[in-house]
């Protein structure tokens, strides 16, 4: 039994006067302690919705979440809102993309950290302050004592993201979900944050679910990678296997279309069209209209997820050759 087990998770948005829209479609994956699992894909492929569904943070109305999310065997989807609230922070922590909008602008950072410590770990105020200082120190915020009294807008973007990570870590969650934690940051700051997350995973055995659209981040950080397209996992493999020989035409296409910092540039091979050019999964492969490997089956039958522990694929006609 894995620490967190997501099975056939689906999220359907229903709005009045509109066709139901399946944002996440039978997504399954699991994380072990000390493991980092990546969810990659372009804008709108359902990464954030997946993480919100796991955390029980999707609004109650207008959507339908099915499947199962088990944390140490407990089904999270059937917990009451109160029970779920108690688990958030304690068992499952989350870091969002935009640190400014996820911090309360009118409360000093210090209070925001100690609040969590007092509430979830039952610490007295004084002890919480000391612990908070220690936390800020651990995430690499210089002069933590002074920072504790400052407001979010007084911190730079990188410092805010650190503060947010400190808050997420305050309760020592065993699973941390990071939704594009570095997308808003500069590369040198991104490198600092990624190093911090890596250290966290190796030192404390936290399980990390890393959501990003940057294949480079995935290559350096994730043990296992899930590639999402149109709400479904289209390919899953260990990072070495995945990057060595991406089998799904979408993964393959992504890798061929991004320029590499460490290689002299050949002409890039773009994926034609855009993410809006997809057909629904129920009548074929959503990627078919943009796919270089398309065969007749692709627009006739929905592909099935096939493969083993090493690699899972959702494709009628996978690639056989490496990218470069």
């Amino acid at each position: 039994m894995a620490l967190l087990d997501v099975t056939d998770l689906s999220v359907v948005f229903r709005r009045r006067g509109e066709e139901p829209f399946t944002a996440v479609d039978k997504v399954s994956f699991s994380v072990e302690p000390g493991q980092t699992v990546g969810l990659v894909g372009e804008s709108g492929c359902g990464k954030s919705v997946t993480s919100l569904a796991i955390m029980g943070l999707l609004p109650k109305r207008g959507n339908q979440v099915t499947g199962s999310v088990r944390y140490e065997g407990t089904e999270l989807l059937s917990l009451s809102p109160d029970q779920m609230r108690a688990r958030r922070g304690k068992d499952l922590g989350m870091v969002f993309q935009d640190p400014l909008s996820s911090l309360n602008p009118v409360i000093p950072i210090g209070i925001q950290v100690t609040e969590v410590l007092e509430k979830h770990r039952g610490m007295p105020r004084r002890k919480a302050m000391i612990e908070a200082e220690d936390l800020l120190n651990r995430v690499g915020i210089p002069d933590p004592r002074r920072r504790l009294t400052e407001y979010p807008h007084q911190l730079s973007g990188g410092m805010r993201q650190r503060a947010l990570i400190a808050i997420a870590l305050a309760c020592r969650p065993r699973v941390l979900i990071a939704d594009e934690p570095t997308t808003a940051l500069d590369v040198t700051i991104q490198a600092q944050i990624l190093a911090l997350l890596k250290e966290l995973v190796t030192d404390t055995g936290t399980a990390l679910i890393m959501i990003t659209h940057d294949l480079g981040v995935v290559a350096g950080l994730c043990d296992q990678v899930n590639v999402l397209y149109g709400g479904r996992v289209v390919e899953r493999a260990g990072r070495h296997e995945l990057f060595e020989l991406p089998r799904h035409p979408y993964t393959h296409g992504l890798l061929a279309s991004i320029p590499r910092l460490d290689l002299e540039g050949d002409r890039l091979v773009p994926i034609p069209g855009s993410v809006a050019d997809n057909i629904p999964w129920d009548g074929g492969c959503a990627f078919a209209p943009r796919c270089a490997n398309q065969i007749a089956d692709c627009t006739a039958r929905t592909p099935e997820l096939t493969g083993d522990q090493q690699r899972l694929l959702l494709c009628h006609n996978p690639m056989e050759v490496a990218v470069r």
Binding site: E18, E19, F21, G44, G230, A276, N278, P280, D282, P289
Partner: protein, 310 residues
């Protein structure tokens, strides 16, 4: 991303060939309004009002000023006659046909509201447009003036302006009401133009080498027209209310024979105990018409909001 929400068939069609024809933001907004019940209600009320105003002289059985001796007999006994053959809503306190007066008054109301809105909009846009286009000290000076006007409560301002004229007339009302509208339009247009001065498409136009005047007239003004139009519709509603209020307070043309909803309301008040219908009809007319314009304006604002685009 919203595109993903459309149906399968539609999506496949879109992939097969480009069928859409090029819809400007205006025509998209118009399409959205046609689907909105609020917009339709507003439009129906406004259209009914416009039609009634246009054809009032044909529909009205009598003139607005003719006093009928047979009705006046009762009046002397302090009784205001109700509905009777030839007078669908009965008489007013002077022996006029109430129905005809209500109908014909719509023309007055329309004239005052449109004139006040057009004047207010024209002057306001001139001030706001100049301030927004030129910026700098011109902007500073003009906007301080506007601030002064804005610092008075609007009705109070209208009353003071109307009171400046020794002899009240409908023009007094128009001037007073349009003065109140001026700062609203000036603020609105200036804000929108200033925001656009820093927008990327204006920067892009400068980078292309478009002349400064052309940037103002081709980019900044057209992109401000949406909010101005919305405001104009809402101002029509407000003007109707304010004009009525001024007449009610006796700051318009005091001639009691004149058919005007606000004035009718004012004169009817003394008879409220015995004949509440005298107050009731003009009040309803004012409210319904103002509501029509407000609904239309609000739904237009909704439809023009880029956030609601689908």
């Amino acid at each position: 991303m919203t595109e993903m929400l459309t149906g399968r068939k539609e999506r496949i069609d879109r992939l097969a060939g480009d069928a859409s024809v090029g819809r400007s933001l205006w025509s998209e907004a118009f399409r959205r309004m046609r689907r909105s019940p609020v917009a339709i209600t507003g439009a129906v009320l406004v259209a009914a009002f416009l039609l009634l105003a246009a054809f009032a002289p044909l529909i009205a059985p009598h003139s607005a000023t003719e006093r009928f001796p047979q009705l006046l007999q009762d009046l002397r006994a302090d009784h205001i006659p109700g509905a009777q053959p030839g007078f669908p809503l009965g008489s007013d306190q002077l022996g006029h046909d109430l129905f005809s007066r209500l109908l014909l008054a719509s023309q007055q109301t329309l004239l005052v509201a449109v004139a006040a809105t057009v004047f207010g909009m024209a002057v306001g846009m001139l001030i706001g447009g100049t301030a927004g286009a030129l910026g700098g000290w011109v902007d500073n000076v003009l906007m301080r003036l506007v601030d002064v006007l804005l610092s008075f409560p609007s009705l109070l301002l209208a009353i003071s302006i109307a009171a400046l004229f020794s002899q009240g007339s409908q023009w007094t009302v128009i001037i007073a009401v349009s003065t109140v509208a001026v700062p609203v339009f000036a603020r609105l247009l200036r804000g929108s133009m200033l925001a656009q001065r820093h927008s990327e498409y204006v920067l892009a136009a400068r980078a292309t080498g478009v002349k400064p005047a052309a940037i103002v007239f081709r980019h900044m003004l057209p992109n401000s027209l949406g909010p101005v139009l919305v405001q104009a519709t809402l101002t029509l509603a407000i003007s109707i209310l304010e004009a009525a209020a001024l007449s009610y307070l006796g700051l318009g043309d005091p001639n009691p024979d004149r058919a005007e909803w606000g004035l009718m309301l004012a004169n009817a008040q003394r008879y409220f105990d015995v004949s509440p219908q005298l107050s009731f009809y003009p009040a309803i007319a004012i409210i319904v018409v103002a509501l029509g314009f407000t609904l239309l304006g609000e739904s237009m604002r909704e439809a023009l909001d880029p956030k609601n685009r689908r």
